[in-house]
């Protein structure tokens, strides 16, 4: 019998770990530079916590056996856990809260996806207890900063506004609104066209379906509609956000405004966005996020609502988008020194010398030879492992250095 990881799970070997760490370390460094502190929440949560508010369906959560108190689930994303921790454990802290994470999340793959991935690695931020366009702009600029710094080729941001789309949908009678929303979210133009709707409503639905493009053209089109005061305010906000982004970024951000960018169910209330890259005929969903001004209230003991905005980046997709570039480390780091005891009696001296080397420079990598090999085999090993120097240690602690050429 062979033991394998379950379908959808996998092992990461050292080179892949080094490459993904390179990505994630850079991201965390950028998050730190923007004043975010890392938070670690539990991998396991009550299923009720994860699915509170109905945005996450229980079927997408990998559930663990019932115990007496209820069902547990492996977190499918981090925002719910962080929201829970922030309003319960960090209450009374100074606001706003800037939190970041690097973590694995788990998703039950849909039924027809044989061997679909179960475990995903993410890095992300949540800016809690802060509403308004300045916070939105901070998050979008931070996202752009991350993608630029990593050197992702040909990336774009797809930006929507769940609040504005909701207002635009409010002209539809409640009984058909849900279906229109479904068609927009799932890009089903055919159902809208073949639908036996009043001509005005149908024209409106098809117009909403096409509301995407450069922010300027889309917002111009939206302002020609008769908007209710909420929608009007949202449009003005969105205009100010775009303006702020354009003026605060060295290069204009590649943003496509898409007012049908929404999920059938989600917890977003304001801006929503996805970061995408196209490379070598592949499309990568690098990250996603948005504003959720009602989520924190779900977890607050007194249901006190507070705003929040954030994003998560998908490490696997970032890695795939970068793998054909030369940005990632191409090899695991090699040891700088191989320390070899000349005789069994010199072993103590070898340990001491290795320690002295390590203390000389915290970055240095020193490994010990474990004996039972002749000098030529040791040299061959050093060459194979790209080790630059061998220190041959004598009983009295003196040593000679041999540089390995390979």
């Amino acid at each position: 019998m062979t033991y394998q990881p379950p379908a959808g799970a996998r092992d990461l070997l050292p080179l892949e770990v080094a490459q993904k760490a390179w990505i994630n370390d850079r991201l965390q460094q950028i998050f730190r530079q923007h004043g975010y502190s890392r938070i670690v929440t539990s991998t396991l949560e009550w299923l009720d916590t994860l699915t509170a508010g109905g945005a996450i369906k229980p079927s997408t959560v990998i559930q663990l056996k019932d115990n007496l108190e209820g069902t547990l689930g492996l977190r499918p994303e981090m925002t719910a856990s962080i929201a829970r921790a922030a309003v319960t454990r960090m209450a009374g802290n100074i606001y706003p809260q800037r939190l970041c994470y690097r973590a694995n999340v788990f998703r039950n793959p849909p039924k027809n996806y044989d061997g679909g991935q179960l475990e995903f690695y993410q890095a992300g931020v949540e800016l809690l207890f802060a509403g308004g366009i300045i916070a939105d702009a901070e998050i979008l600029l931070l996202l752009a900063n991350c993608l630029q710094d990593l050197g992702i080729p040909d990336w774009q941001i797809l930006l929507g506004d769940a609040g504005l789309t909701r207002s635009l949908l409010s002209v539809f009678p409640p009984n058909i609104r849900k279906q229109v929303r479904y068609c927009l979210a799932n890009l089903d133009r055919i159902t809208l066209e073949n639908w036996d709707l009043e001509p005005d409503l149908k024209a409106r639905a098809l117009m909403l379906f096409e509301l995407r493009g450069t922010p300027e053209t889309v917002l111009k089109k939206v302002t020609t509609l008769d908007l209710d005061p909420t929608a009007e305010a949202t449009v003005i906000n969105l205009q100010s956000l775009i303006d702020l982004l354009n003026r605060s970024s060295k290069n204009p951000l590649p943003i496509t405004l898409d007012l049908s960018l929404l999920q059938t169910f989600d917890y977003y209330t304001g801006i929503v966005f996805e970061a995408v890259s196209f490379h070598d005929n592949q499309c990568y969903l690098l990250g996603q996020g948005g504003r959720y001004d009602r989520l924190l209230g779900l977890y607050h003991p007194q249901q006190e609502s507070s705003p929040g905005v954030g994003f998560s980046l998908n490490i696997e997709d970032l890695h795939s988008a970068l793998i054909t570039t030369t940005r990632l480390p191409q090899q695991t780091p090699a040891s700088d020194w191989l320390v070899v005891a000349d005789t069994a009696e010199a072993q103590v001296a070898a340990f001491c010398h290795a320690e002295t080397l390590r203390n000389s420079n915290p970055e240095i990598r020193v490994e010990l030879d474990l004996g039972a090999r002749d000098p030529e085999a040791i040299r061959e090993y050093a060459r194979t492992c790209r080790i630059k120097n061998i220190a041959w240690i004598k009983l009295d602690g003196t040593y000679c250095v041999e540089n390995i050429s390979y």
């Binding site: 027809n112 774009q156 797809l158 799932n186 890009l187 089903d188 133009r189 055919i190 159902t191 066209e193 073949n194 995407r212 493009g213 496509t256 898409d258 049908s260 960018l261 996805e274 995408v276 196209f278 005929n281 592949q282 499309c283 969903l285």
Partner: protein, 212 residues
């Protein structure tokens, strides 16, 4: 360059005709001696992949093709995550329940509980019988479904009907239509949203042609 997935089989000729009208000539795929599965049109503006109809939504969902043409029947059966952009109106057919003419069944409800139904459209068949609360055993086949009742393996079939000739010649009777199907233009969702490779222009042109 935009890549379009074209379906082998019944829809191919009309599909190639449609793209010809917007200036993209993939008629090499109709040439019997051609063995190439990926070609570029003579004006060098678009690539086409020749794939089995069931695989069109797969290439589009994964983004290897930004556009594709496929029957609604395949979409309904596979439920792929793709944008449904335009009803191309050609390639009409319907998914129906059929039984031997000699049987007494004239409605799905009259079929015996736990009877057998042969079909290529396992999910659609399941959905239909679940909706009328009739427990049946679906026997998955990949072709010549009409043989199910002829050989006595199943009481009924759920299969595509276009003219009804095949049913008639095999002594079968269409008793219920599940849905009607036509060819659809589908798109990779993110490419469509981000208007990659001017996908919106091409879609608008095709859309305009169909509406004329």
């Amino acid at each position: 360059m935009i890549t379009i997935a074209l379906p082998k089989g019944a829809l191919l000729k009309d599909t190639i005709e449609l793209f010809k009208q917007v200036g993209l000539d993939f008629s090499l795929f109709l040439d019997k001696s051609n063995r190439q599965l990926q070609i570029t049109d003579p004006t060098n503006t678009a690539k086409a992949l020749l794939v089995r109809a069931q695989d069109v939504p797969v290439y589009v969902e994964y983004g290897q093709a930004q556009l594709g043409v496929v029957g609604y029947d395949v979409l309904r059966e596979k439920q792929p995550n793709v944008a449904n952009v335009t009803d191309l109106k050609f390639g009409y057919c319907r998914l129906s329940v059929a039984v031997p003419k000699s049987s007494s069944y004239r409605r799905s409800q009259e079929l015996p509980p736990h009877g057998r139904v042969a079909s290529k459209f396992v999910n659609c068949a399941k959905e239909h019988f679940r909706s009328i609360d009739l427990p049946v055993e679906i026997v998955p086949l990949s072709g010549s479904v009409e043989l199910g009742p002829i050989t006595g393996m199943s009481e009924a079939i759920v299969d595509l009907v276009s003219t009804g000739r095949t049913l008639k010649e095999n002594g079968l009777l269409e008793i219920e239509v599940l849905y009607e199907s036509t060819a659809r233009l589908i798109a990779h969702p993110l490419s469509y949203r981000l208007k990659r490779d001017n996908i919106d222009d091409l879609v608008a042109k095709l859309h305009g042609l169909v509406r004329e």
